[in-house]
Symmetry: C2
Subunit: 322 residues, 2 copies
């Protein structure tokens, strides 16, 4: 049994790689919900959907999020009304949010609804939200952010939601802090702690350490459960040669005082990770990572390259001595 | 100034006819919200939307509701999930519901949001929901209703929402009672009482008396305001030769003990209506209607016939001696 701690895009690719070499019934993903939002009355869980859509081969290749064969009629109407349209909701994607919102209004928890959605896409893995409770990643702006066509002016020190940072501002503004609102009072989702305790191997996917992995760890009990299983926890670095493949992980790490490098990742993860897989480009850092008390495996990690995803998956499995 | 008490389809046609002969700035529609529902987290106001879409020449001609050039991608996804899809939400139409829901979540009342939507469609009339508060038309089944693919079995005496009756069961089940949930505690929407008090002419549109007009009258203050203005209130009968042009008005009137005829309409309306316009097919009933204390005007009222809508509009205006 393999459990993967997952954000969105990077985690979805890691999961897809693992599913090339192991049966889906052996895999559980514990997915970040700090990016979730309520918009237009709808419950939206971007990372859960990115994982599901990617594994179903239904992710929109043009955008990297949302569904393939998408149309945008609802959004066009919203724009006609002058409504809030910066968060892209495609018509097909809306079907997912309508379903999720309806089921939750009927009393189903997010874990149950997620399982229903994953099953409807014909997927065999177990996808678990880190928590069913409200957990929201909040970002503090490091500097004044002038208004533009889409949003109002904010001063340095203002706190905004993750999606206001990530989507509305295209993660192009510096941040001074990240906080997980609701973390103190939320509970791990059903099955989450068991999936950590019972796993033969736990993988920290190559997701943003600050806003994808950290909010999962912020759910009380999850970080401690990982620390207890440290000897079977392998992380794949999302930072390659000082940069993230996608998204603001490198900048966020720097802005928040971490080293935007595999060493910075190792420092953030060393309490609950025993093996760090880094890209060949970072091979010179292997010794320094070992000096932090981690095993270090060097391999190709850019999964968009032909053949890499399967070999990386095998390395992940082998690195854990399974 | 003309104020029209309105349901959905019939009222939208009456309003369209009136707008052929008078300026839209002279017209206020007070629209039924008893059909409203919350579904998938969204605020849906079918009669408000039917009026708006019809007057904007954007109503879907194939369905009679919803928007033209519609697509159904969200609904297809909902069906893939096994979700609730009996209430048809087209992709473009969803944009309206997303906008309404979002604005209400921001604190705007339904009157404000409705004005924004009407304005975005370039319409000049004043469209007012009868109330901004929760008012729901509930229908009691007269007989057992066996289950089918789309809904569960119900016994006689069960109370269901209007849309469960109208859309889910295609208004094909007999009813024993209609109730307006929330009527006791709701307030007339902003401008509604003024629109009645200040009107030179008030028109009761040819809408279903039981489930379109009655829920407007059920809002405390509206019926009394109409009674006070009875001498300028003209109704257009929705019943022609014992039948409704569309929908279950005739059956509902019979089932609830009213005469499904222009006489039945006259009896329901006589306290607050001074002039009843009936179709030429019902000309023999003129005397009986007059005997009930109403003026009666006989004319062509089937607005789908060429030329009728404009002449009916002129008759409505003339019948009130304006």
């Amino acid at each position: 049994m393999i459990t993967v701690i997952a954000g969105g895009v990077g985690a979805a690719r890691m999961l897809r790689a693992l599913l090339q070499v192991i049966d889906s019934s052996e895999v559980t993903a514990i997915v970040n919900v700090g990016d979730d939002l309520e918009l237009h009355g709808l419950r939206i869980s971007p990372d859960l959907d990115t994982v599901t859509y990617t594994l179903a081969d239904a992710i929109n290749p043009e955008t990297g999020w949302g569904l393939v064969n998408e149309s945008w009629q609802a959004r066009s109407m919203l724009e006609q009304y002058g409504g809030v349209s910066w968060f892209g909701l495609g018509d097909r994607d809306l079907g997912t949010h309508l379903y999720r919102t309806h089921r939750i209004s009927e009393g189903a928890d997010l874990t149950t609804v997620t399982a229903e959605i994953v099953s409807a896409w014909g997927l065999g893995l177990n996808v678990l939200p880190a928590t069913c409770d409200r957990l929201r990643t909040m970002v503090t702006l490091a500097s004044d952010d002038p208004s533009n066509d889409h949003f109002k002016s904010l001063t340095a020190g203002s706190e905004i939601s993750f999606q206001e940072y990530f989507v509305q501002r295209h993660h192009s503004v510096p941040v001074s802090a990240v906080r997980f609102d609701g973390a103190e009072s939320c509970q791990p989702g059903p099955g989450v702690i068991d999936a950590i305790n019972d796993a033969d191997l736990i993988v920290i996917a190559p997701s943003n350490p600050i806003v994808s992995i950290a909010p999962v760890l912020a759910v009380p009990g999850i970080r401690d459960a990982l620390i207890n299983r440290r000897n079977v926890v392998t992380a794949v670095s999302p930072i390659i040669a000082g940069a993230a493949l996608k998204g603001p992980a490198d900048r966020m790490m720097s802005e928040l005082g971490h080293d935007a490098s595999v060493l910075g990742v190792a420092a953030l993860y060393k309490d609950f990770v025993s093996t760090l897989i880094i890209d060949s480009k970072d091979s010179r850092q292997k010794k320094a990572i070992q000096d932090l008390g981690l095993r270090c495996v060097v391999t190709e990690t850019v999964m968009s390259k032909p053949g890499v995803s399967e070999s990386l998956a095998l390395t992940v499995l082998a690195g854990a001595n399974l």
